[in-house]
Symmetry: C2
Subunit: 334 residues, 2 copies
């Protein structure tokens, strides 16, 4: 078996995560037990939830000191103990920050590379990104035709899909909130958003009021904090706020800043809706087929930011939290 290169957690970050919180180590690749496969990790998905695993408890899973860091990935089976998985099969799963992952077959999903390239299964066709966007907009936000939809973190992996899905489901006006003029331009010129608001350039509440004069019917929040508060001030009656994430708070989960304007939910007959995609397994097939159709017909634009080399994993996580990526952020491991 090849050696396994691993990024391991050296210290729980105190506040902002630092490159020094990780170590690069080399180890033997584990021997397979029955029901396991060994996967060569080709790409890792750099997602905001990774930050929440580093605190030693909390919102999602947890990374242990000296252990690899949770991350979703796509890779190629190099050894198998299960007849359903052959050497050479491309699979997704919780690969973590390493070059070879030994996984139970139940944690692996075989992907159909005829349908889309492997990295699409970490983005537009992944459960945590594409299927989340589709199911959340269709079955949680329940968009009615013509409504005004706002997405925060709109240039990110989930946000860039969620805004496009909203439009494809019939939204009347789609507005993205993102950081900086480049991302805002990306939203309106490349992804077909109707407008973009730069949260780094002035009063988001006022700028959103200009862009959504009749109020916001659906808000898809990936960010939390000040951005959530600004949108709450602009809710239309019967608005739905879908809580997908809160990346602005993930470096401070012990003391999250709650939305101080949450009483607008009461005042406007609105609702704040949580959802985890894992409660909607009966929608996966429909979501995958629809997203793949939109992707292959060119209706859904996908943009990827690529970082290369496993040793860049800590820098990639830091970069994601600093808003450095546009679209899906991938780390090419090999």
């Amino acid at each position: 078996m090849p050696k396994n290169r691993k990024v391991v957690l050296k210290s729980h970050p105190q506040g902002p995560v630092r490159l020094e919180d990780f170590d690069m180590v080399e180890d033997e690749t584990e021997a397979l037990r029955p029901g396991q496969v060994c996967v060569r990790v080709d790409h890792l998905s750099i997602d905001a939830f990774i930050r929440t695993t580093l605190d030693g408890g909390g919102f999602h899973q947890s990374a242990k000191l000296g252990g690899v860091v949770p991350a979703l990935g796509v890779g190629t089976v190099v050894e198998s103990t299960d007849a359903a998985f052959a050497v050479g099969d491309v699979v997704t799963g919780p690969m973590c920050s390493q070059s070879y992952a030994v996984l139970p077959v139940a944690a692996c999903g075989k992907v159909d590379t005829q349908l889309a390239p492997p990295t699409a299964f970490l983005g537009a066709l992944s459960i945590a990104t594409g299927l989340t966007s589709y199911v959340g907009m269709k079955y949680v936000a329940k968009i009615h035709g013509g409504e005004t939809v706002v997405v925060s973190g709109a240039a990110g992996a989930v946000g860039s899909l969620a805004g496009q899905v909203a439009r494809l489901l019939g939204a009347g006006r789609v507005i993205g909130i993102a950081g900086g003029p480049d991302k805002c331009r990306f939203l309106t010129t490349q992804l077909g958003f109707d407008a973009a608001v730069d949260y780094k350039a002035g009063d988001v509440t006022a700028k959103l009021a200009e862009q959504a004069p009749n109020g916001v019917d659906v808000f898809w929040d990936n960010v939390g904090g000040d951005v959530l508060d600004a949108v709450l001030m602009n809710l239309a009656v019967e608005a739905r706020v879908v809580l997908c994430g809160a990346v602005s708070q993930y470096e401070n989960m012990a003391n999250v800043r709650g939305p101080k304007n949450y009483l607008k939910i009461a005042e406007r007959d609105a609702s704040m809706l949580g959802f985890t995609i894992f409660h909607y397994p009966d929608r996966y097939a429909e979501a995958t087929a629809t997203m793949a159709g939109w992707l292959n017909s060119g209706k859904l634009i996908v943009h990827e930011t690529l970082e290369v080399g496993l040793d860049r994993f800590p820098a990639a996580v830091r970069g994601l939290l600093d808003g450095g990526n546009t679209g899906k952020f991938l780390l090419k491991v090999g």
Copy 2:
């Protein structure tokens, strides 16, 4: 016409409202214009929303410097310009802090004193208290039989009804959160709550976990702040949090403390539901009939705290905010 005694706002409170923020004045009662009635105010309803009107803007209506303070009341028509309202009729409406109110007939609701005593129309049969409890539990929380329901401000006017309504609609377990052992005892011995948690005596999160070991399915929040955060930590999957009020925040509306545990809404597939009773006019008749039936059959227990004398209006408002009342808080004006 008799003289009109009025409590007027002298200064917008800075933080906690003080008795010195009000003045008592005597004035001529206005002459009636067509379409108006003059009502002798018999009882005023002392409600938490009154505090929010004193800041000169904000959540509900607004009290002006030198003007009377918004408050709902019940009284007797002493002069009328409208054939539909006769002298002697008992009516409810936005009487405000005064002994005689001149109101447009459209703002008055004639009450059926055969159905219940006049003060019931400020409590169990009022839109803002009783109908809110019924419609909110039935059509917003949508209680399923057997669920665990938690109510904050449970010994207050809305809370004491909301908990009882939940039980009458089939809740499996009703838990009240209130301040102090007397109120907690009141809930369990007089109102039929299954358990009570004293938020002034220790860790609400832990005590609620004991009382609701399978999690909270419905939370009716009148309080906000720490209490809301404690309940969010105990949500069951698919829980509904109904936002009815946030009395802990009403003295600090410029800087509300948002719920820092709001991400539990996402994690637990839960929702936070705002509602204003005025969006449910088609449910008023059903709610009134049902509440009156429960009231007259003894299934719904109503408790009133009575203060006497219009000059006690400021002290009553201060007392309400300090949690001094049990059940409906009324001021007898005459």
